[in-house]
């Protein structure tokens, strides 16, 4: 067989082209792997060798990067690579039934490519379409609101080898579902107004304006934005003046989808905010780190960037100011929740495995390639642009003393109107539930899997950094739901998403998952629930990063605030029961030895 010379089909030629356009820069490794995966349904061995040679990295190292990211594979996936969003809210909308239905129709086992290589069907962590699920990704493209009828059609389209571009366009329809707007969502799109103010009034004045507004990071931690920018501006490590602005659009927290909507409808303001930050701290380089699940947004975002370059809002001498040079590059993630943590995100931007760094030093002094770097959430940059344009007073006009302005919430689960709600800080959970049409509510999970489970007696608490902080996830569960399903979903999520670097998270998370599964099976006793608490507290106090310290939250909240869920499931008849069936564990030996005497069994009724 003669190898094709068409670079579209020939891995070697394709890889060479990638290397050439990346200038053999190892920081581009992840981006190149991502492109290879999309092109060939896997990363071909020949490409790994080629990358290894050109970038002077060992093949094992490149394999370790591939192994880290869920969307990268060394063996071919199906021509149609289907991933069901595995968020609890997708489950609640019936995704698991649809998944097994599609597997049956296609004659494919979950996670294993079909023999003819046509298709794989698998799951992935929350895809950020919880308000219009169940959702799937097919070769990186998003399909929403699945039902049995659509599944039937999808199976047919795949059997007929219909190209994705010819699938019914309404399958791919994504709605923004903006239900409630306030300051930010009703603000006009900035086309240089904020940046112009920075040029006219000076960086220090603008930094003061943002400080006066009280703006705090919207990623959940709530660090004062002006302070972060100031630290970065004043950082002088090794005399470098090369600073970096990074926008964290790795929106992976289950149940969060507000950044998707902002990037779709307010991209100008987000980029304006990044440019403003560059003007203030003196950065030349900017990145938007976009989660792999949002690949479909990339072309339109590139178009916005191109338009802004045309208008002189990006590039050299921005708005005619000599020496104000700044541009933004979009980097894709590849399915790793941990990359939402800022130091993992920076590692990933450098083309590496997304393992969190030790802190300090913090990114503001030693970030991307050890340069002073500001990493902020999409919503934070957007808010900063609006503040620069409309003033700190305007921003402070809503919210609370400690949490000024508004918060975008992505609401999903058991409510009549799931979608995006921009609410003033200080709004109570009950007010939000009323607004989204939720009744008979058993619990609200605020801030995603890593957040807090709020019972009805706490519904008067409010969304604010000083009370219930959140990056935006707000999942509603009514009284018909079994909350243990949610806890189990989260426990499995954290095992999948742990980067594996530190033992408390890697091992603790797995032990926690086993105990939650045991409880779900009705086999857990008091001893096991005590163990859950011990492991949870150990994870919280000793994990390397925020993933490990927040992973046990949902289990601990269940034990503390929802004891009835545990009581219902406890095995009261025994002080301790194994998680597995002992007699069943002898079946293999019975089959091999053809024995069935009394000693070939273990009594399980103790």
């Amino acid at each position: 067989m003669v190898a094709s010379t068409d670079p579209e089909l020939n891995p070697q030629a394709f890889t060479s082209a990638l290397l050439a356009s990346a200038g053999n820069d190892s920081c581009e490794l992840l981006q190149m792997l991502h492109a290879l995966q999309l092109q060939f349904n896997h990363i071909p061995q020949a490409s790994i060798s080629q990358l290894s040679e050109a970038l002077s990295l060992s093949e094992t190292y490149i394999r370790s990067v591939i192994g880290f990211y869920t969307f990268l594979h060394e063996t071919p996936r199906g021509e149609y690579d289907i991933l069901f969003s595995d968020s609890i809210t997708d489950h609640m909308l019936g995704s698991r039934l649809l998944l097994s239905d599609l597997c049956d129709k296609l004659g494919v086992e979950r996670g294993v490519p079909r023999k003819d290589g046509r298709v794989t069907v698998d799951t992935t962590s929350c895809t950020g379409l919880c308000d219009q699920g169940p959702a799937i990704l097919v070769n990186g493209r998003v399909l929403t609101r699945l039902d049995a009828h659509k599944i039937q059609n999808i199976a047919l389209l795949i059997e007929n080898c219909t190209p994705l571009d010819e699938w019914p366009s309404d399958f791919f329809r994504i709605e923004n579902n903006i239900r409630q707007s306030n300051l930010l969502l009703s603000h006009n799109q900035c086309n240089g107004e904020a940046v112009q103010k920075c040029i006219d009034n000076g960086a220090d004045k603008l930094l003061e304006e943002i400080d006066d507004s009280g703006l705090r990071g919207r990623g959940g931690a709530g660090f004062k934005t002006a302070l972060k920018w100031k630290f970065c501006k004043e950082a002088h490590n090794g005399g470098t003046n090369d600073r970096v602005v990074v926008c964290n659009a790795d929106e992976g927290e289950p149940g969060t989808f507000k950044d998707r909507v902002l990037l779709d409808s307010q991209a100008d303001n987000v980029f304006e905010g990044m440019t403003l930050c560059a003007g203030i701290i003196g950065a030349r380089q900017g990145f938007l780190y976009l989660r792999g699940e949002y690949l479909y947004l990339k072309p339109q975002l590139e178009a916005v960037l191109a338009k802004r370059r045309d208008k002189g809002l990006l590039g050299k001498n921005i708005l005619g100011k000599h020496g104000f040079d700044f541009d933004i590059e979009i980097h894709m993630g590849a399915g790793a929740y941990i990359c939402g943590e800022e130091s993992s995100l920076i590692e990933s931007l450098e083309g590496k495995r997304g393992v969190p760094r030790k802190r300090p030093p913090f990114p503001v002094t030693h970030g991307y390639l050890q340069k002073p770097t500001v990493v902020n959430n999409v919503e934070t940059y957007l808010a900063a642009a609006c503040i620069a344009a409309s003033g700190s007073e305007w921003f402070r006009s809503v919210g609370t003393e400690e949490s000024s302005g508004t918060k975008l919430l992505s609401i999903c689960g058991d409510c009549e109107h799931p979608g995006i709600y921009e609410v003033p800080f200080g709004t109570s959970i009950q007010q939000i539930l009323d607004a989204c049409g939720a009744s008979d509510v058993q619990a609200v999970q605020v801030a995603g899997a890593a957040g807090m489970t709020i019972p009805p007696e706490e519904f008067e608490r409010s969304i604010a950094f000083e009370d219930v902080p959140t990056a935006g996830s707000f999942m509603v569960f009514n009284n018909e739901r079994n909350l243990l399903d949610m806890v189990q979903n989260f426990a499995h999520f954290f095992v999948h998403e742990s980067c594996g670097f530190c033992t408390p998270c890697r091992v603790g998370g797995a032990l926690m998952k086993d105990l939650v599964d045991k409880l779900t099976d009705g086999k857990a006793g008091r001893y096991d629930t005590d163990e859950m608490r011990n492991i949870g507290l150990l994870m919280k106090s000793t994990s390397h990063c925020g993933l490990g310290t927040t992973a046990p939250n949902c289990v601990l909240d269940m034990l503390d605030k929802f004891p009835y869920i545990v009581e219902e499931k406890l095995a009261h008849h025994a002080s301790y029961e194994p998680a597995f069936d002992l007699d069943e564990a002898l079946q293999e030996a019975r089959d091999i030895s053809h024995r069935n005497d009394s000693r070939a069994h273990i009594r399980t009724d103790t």
């Binding site: 002898l586 030996a589 019975r590 091999i592 030895s593 000693r599 070939a600």
Partner: protein
């Protein structure tokens, strides 16, 4: 003199290395038997346990007999201790867990080098193997875990004396680091 504490020990799926290490307490065993009386152990050769204050288990759970003995210990001991890597984690025997049981038996009795009478034993006297080897806490509740392969005689001594004296158990660093 106060009544002596009763102690039982056994090795399930282990190599008896932890018991050998236990004997490394050397002459201190004379001090020990001033305060404890051994019930079922390989030293006394008593076959069935009676009620004890402390039960010490070496080895993981690999077959039906291990389950039976372990349950007997749990029922009869106030405090049950997992001693050593196999009891705590499954240890070396658990390395078979990445294979099917059938593959393991075929390797040992059929395909192995130098095997003459090729057959998998089926004698009812032989305990039935579980499909996987388990640490003991996956089968019964365990009160204390003493890791090590094996834990040193000194570590076992520290552990037992502090337990018997009713103190919180803490080891000098040298007794619990393994590199």
């Amino acid at each position: 003199m106060a009544e002596k504490l009763k102690v039982a020990t056994c090795s399930l799926c282990g190599c008896f290395g932890c018991h050998m290490s236990f004997l490394d307490i050397d002459e201190r065993i004379l001090d020990l038997i001033k305060v404890v009386e051994f019930d079922r152990t390989p030293i006394t050769d008593i076959k069935h346990i009676s009620h004890c204050d402390i039960g010490i288990i070496e080895g993981g759970v690999a077959n039906a007999e291990n389950v039976e003995v372990l349950r007997e210990f749990r029922e009869n001991c106030d405090i049950l201790i997992a001693l050593g890597a196999c009891a705590v984690n499954g240890g070396i025997p658990a390395m078979r867990n990445s294979f099917e049981l059938k593959e393991c038996l075929e390797e040992a009795y059929i395909d192995g080098v130098g095997v003459h009478t090729k057959m998998i034993p089926t004698d009812p006297e032989i305990p039935m193997l579980l499909n996987k080897v388990h640490p003991i806490h996956e089968v019964v509740k365990v009160d204390y875990f003493l890791p090590g392969c094996p834990p040193s005689g000194d570590a076992i001594w520290t552990f037992l004396t502090e337990l018997i004296e009713g103190k919180p158990i803490s080891f000098p660093y040298t007794q619990i680091h393994y590199d």
